[in-house]
């Protein structure tokens, strides 16, 4: 996927989950970030060292 040259960095607010509300399957899991309450500090969360390490996904 050729997206061409980088232009600028953005910080997009993680205020709202893109997931449907009220779905119990979206409940927090112990092995990953909580979809429902990403919180304003999500952009500062360190990478999960146990996750796969794609250069591009």
């Amino acid at each position: 996927m050729n997206i061409d040259r980088p232009v600028r960095e953005l910080l997009v607010e993680p205020v709202v989950s893109p997931l449907p509300d009220g779905d119990p399957a979206g409940a927090p899991r112990s092995d990953g970030p909580d979809v429902r309450v990403p919180g304003p500090d999500v952009a500062r969360r360190p990478d999960d060292p146990g996750a796969a390490s794609p250069a591009r996904v």
């Binding site: 996927m1 050729n2 997206i3 061409d4 040259r5 980088p6 232009v7 600028r8 960095e9 953005l10 910080l11 997009v12 607010e13 993680p14 205020v15 709202v16 989950s17 893109p18 997931l19 449907p20 509300d21 779905d23 399957a25 979206g26 899991r29 092995d31 990953g32 970030p33 979809v35 990403p38 999500v42 952009a43 500062r44 969360r45 360190p46 990478d47 999960d48 996750a51 796969a52 390490s53 794609p54 250069a55 591009r56 996904v57």
Partner: protein, 217 residues
């Protein structure tokens, strides 16, 4: 280049996935690497070169999406079983024709007919999908000829609209550009609405999908 990123409005982009079948349900898999996008949790970028957070501007890491569906159509060259619009957030590097993002989750998926190239069995054999608690067996390509049942299960698993586009082999079965663009615009409006505390935004997005696509998903 500024070292302080801008705050930005909701961002959405277009991309393709392969589709793998597991005991827990169908999974969206990156066509580039055997990494799956988890259902009902954000996909999170990581970087083998150590960017923290990923992506960083000078690197090539991150979750990739293109800015426009027609461009993705030209670039994907028949790759992928699923085409979709995905929300992007956190740290986002904007490119001339797309984005690399820290977090992503699909907003709307188009399931293309079987017979197109599916998930790379060669890649899966070389490096199995990571086990993140789903007890995944070896994943296999979703090969059902009829898209209705896979579409239903994909929608159920990821909790987002899944549409079977009425395309043709000549156009790679890609969804109509204007239709898909209108749905994506509505998806971004919905994200903005929900950010502002509008709890009806998701229902309005669902209604808009139905209006634009012409069927209940």
């Amino acid at each position: 280049m500024t070292s302080v990123p801008d705050l930005a409005e909701p961002v959405a982009g277009w991309r393709v996935w392969d589709l793998a079948e597991t005991r827990e349900g169908p999974l969206l898999v990156s066509p580039l690497r055997p990494v799956f996008w988890p259902p009902r949790r954000p996909m999170t970028a990581t970087c083998s070169r150590g960017c923290a957070p990923s992506p960083s501007l000078p690197c090539r890491c991150g979750l990739y999406a293109m800015d426009e569906l027609p461009r993705l159509h030209r670039e994907s060259r028949g790759q992928g079983r699923v085409v979709g619009c995905t929300a992007l957030w956190g740290r986002v590097v904007e490119h001339a024709h797309g984005f690399r993002a820290q977090f992503a989750y699909p907003l709307l998926l188009f399931l293309l007919p079987a017979g197109r190239p599916g998930v790379s069995q060669r890649l899966l054999r070389r490096r199995p999908l990571p086990d993140v608690g789903y007890g995944l067996p070896a994943a296999t390509e979703v090969s059902s000829a009829s898209p209705a049942e896979p579409a239903r299960r994909l929608k159920q698993h990821y909790g987002v609209p899944v549409v079977v586009p009425s395309g043709s082999p000549a156009d790679g079965y890609f969804p109509d550009d204007r239709l898909a663009g209108a749905v994506a615009a509505e998806a971004v409006r919905g994200l903005a609405g929900r950010r502002e505390g509008d709890h009806t935004a998701h229902a309005r997005f669902a209604d808009a999908v139905e209006d634009l696509v012409g069927r209940r998903w």
